[in-house]
Every structure is written in structure tokens, then in C-alpha cells.
Amino acid sequence: MGIIKKLPAHLEKFPGGGIAVTSLETILLQGQSKSVWYLLFGTACCAIELMCTGASRYDFDRLGMIFRATPRQSDLIIAAGTITKKMAPRLRRLYDQMAEPRYVIAMGGCTIKGGPFYYDSYAVEKGIDHIVPVDIYIPGCPPRPESLLEGCIHLQEKIRQQKLSDWQEK
């Protein structure tokens, strides 16, 4: 990430550097979007659906998504399941431990706005978007594997629409 952050600024000094930057941008973003490794992170019901999505019938691996156990090597954290007030600092910590570029999918109602635990619950964090920035929301309780796959495909599209200059250090 370090080199790439400064790359456009350096390249554009040369004649024809702009072309190099745009073609480089395409390759890099394609690479990023086509190899999204997700963190094995599941707290509640959605984790079972996450497991099913990785299993034979739905198969995450088709999209090039494999799981990593350590946050350092993963690009995507699928917050599958309720995040309680006790868990919230841990989620933030996991997010902080991930290497950039990193993405978050909020899977299920609980992570979006507390879901079925919005009312009358003293322990549930009402939405994870004030703990970590969320890229894709997938509603459902729990969402079906198809919707999770769809969400991941949307995420890939979203990654491809980025600009290399967005990452540049200011």
C-alpha cells in the first residue's frame, strides 16, 4: 500500500504517465476486487448462513473469496450477527488490525440497526455503522446465502469504481 499510495503522484510527472496510471489503476482495482479474502468472523445466526455460503451449494470460492483466520491477511470483514456492547470494541479492534484496503459488510438486521433487538434490549449495539465504516448492507434475519453472494458481487463492483487517486496521501 505504501508505494502505491504515492505512485500516481510520481508517475504523472513523466510524459505519458497519466496513461500508465489509468492502466495501472485498472489492473490494481481488478486485482483487489477479484480477490477479496474475508475474515472468519461470525457472532450469531448469520454466521451459520455465512458457513453455508462457503459450503458446497453456494461456494464463496467461485468469486475468489476464501477465508483467513487472521485479520492481518483479510480484506473484508463480514459482520455476521449481532454486535453487542461488549463485542463492539473488539469489532473495532479487529477492523483496526486489518491491513488497508479494507471493507466491511454489515450482514443481517442486527448489524444494520439492531434488528429484532432494537427494542427492549440493554445490551445490543444499535447498528455497527458508528463503530466501523460499512460498505455494503445486507438486510435479512438472517439473509439468505444468495443475498450474501449478491452483496459480495456489489462490493466487488464498488471496489472497481474507486480511483487510485482516492487513496493518495494528502
Binding site: 456492547k85 427492549d120 440493554y122 445490551a123
Partner: protein, 156 residues
């Protein structure tokens, strides 16, 4: 023993210590005075004809005026069930720990202490465990508990 025989047996054996309540809908429900808890529990656990060696459940109830601690027992050998409860005052509720008799009561009692604020005497590990470590909003399972971010479900 059928349920009726059990009721008779208990009222005979534990005269004055356990009184039969009519609120138990499926299994017999008795009331025990907090002071008698340890003695009664030990006897229930050791009695040849009861052998209630399995603590199914232990939970507190807040009715608004009083606390109750409900013990659900089971015998793995004689296959019968029995419930009893303690009536505790709402402020300064204290109950003796039964983990010497049923070690599994440990966590149930911790939970009572944490969520209801019922003090457990002679408990070996009375530490916070369900709520966040920095929780400072009291005992959330009490009926009169409230907090700024606690939203009640509107009546339909």
C-alpha cells in the same frame, strides 16, 4: 414416584420447611424460607427416595414488589422433577450459595447477582460476566430499570 406421590412425600418429609404452592402448572412447586435453603437443598440432594442431583435451572424473578429465586431440580436416576422457590425482599436481597450441593449453580448465581443485584453469600467467584466490563448502569433485569438508550417497544 408420580407427581401426586411426590407432593405427599415432600409435605410429609419436609414438614414446615417446604410448603406446596398452587402456582406450579406442570411440576409441583414449593416455597422454602431463605434461612432453610441449605438444609433443605442438602436433604433433597441426599434423600434416598428423591436423589435430586441435577440442577436444571436457577433464576431470579422480579415481580415488582419482591424477588423470587426459583430452583428447578431433577433426578437423573429416579427421573422426576421438582421446583421450589425462595421469596426475597426487594432491597438487600441475599441468598445463600448452593454451589456446594450443586456445583453447577455457580454461573446461575453469578447471573442473578449481576442482572438482579441479589447478593450471593459464600460464592467463590462473584465477578461480572454477561455485561460489559465497564458497565455502570445497575442491574438491567429489574423491572424498574431504565437507561437513556433503552427503548421500550411501543404498544401496538
Amino acid at each position: 414416584m408420580t407427581r401426586d406421590e411426590l407432593k405427599d412425600y415432600i409435605t410429609k418429609q419436609f414438614e414446615g420447611k417446604m410448603t406446596l404452592l398452587d402456582t406450579g402448572r406442570h411440576d409441583p412447586m414449593f416455597e422454602v424460607k431463605p434461612a432453610d435453603l441449605l438444609e433443605v437443598s442438602q436433604k433433597l440432594h441426599d434423600d434416598e427416595n428423591l436423589q435430586l442431583d441435577f440442577l436444571c435451572n436457577l433464576g431470579a424473578v422480579d415481580t415488582g414488589e419482591i424477588f423470587e429465586a426459583v430452583y428447578s431440580l431433577d433426578s437423573t436416576t429416579l427421573k422426576m422433577r421438582l421446583d421450589f422457590k425462595l421469596i426475597l425482599p426487594r432491597d438487600g436481597a441475599e441468598v445463600e450459595s448452593v454451589q456446594k450441593i450443586w456445583p453447577g449453580a455457580n454461573w446461575f448465581e453469578r447471573e442473578m447477582w449481576e442482572l438482579y443485584g441479589i447478593n450471593i453469600l459464600n460464592h467463590d467467584n462473584l465477578k461480572r460476566f454477561l455485561l460489559p466490563d465497564d458497565w455502570d448502569q445497575g442491574h438491567p433485569m429489574r423491572k424498574d430499570w431504565d437507561a437513556p438508550d433503552f427503548i421500550r417497544m411501543p404498544e401496538l
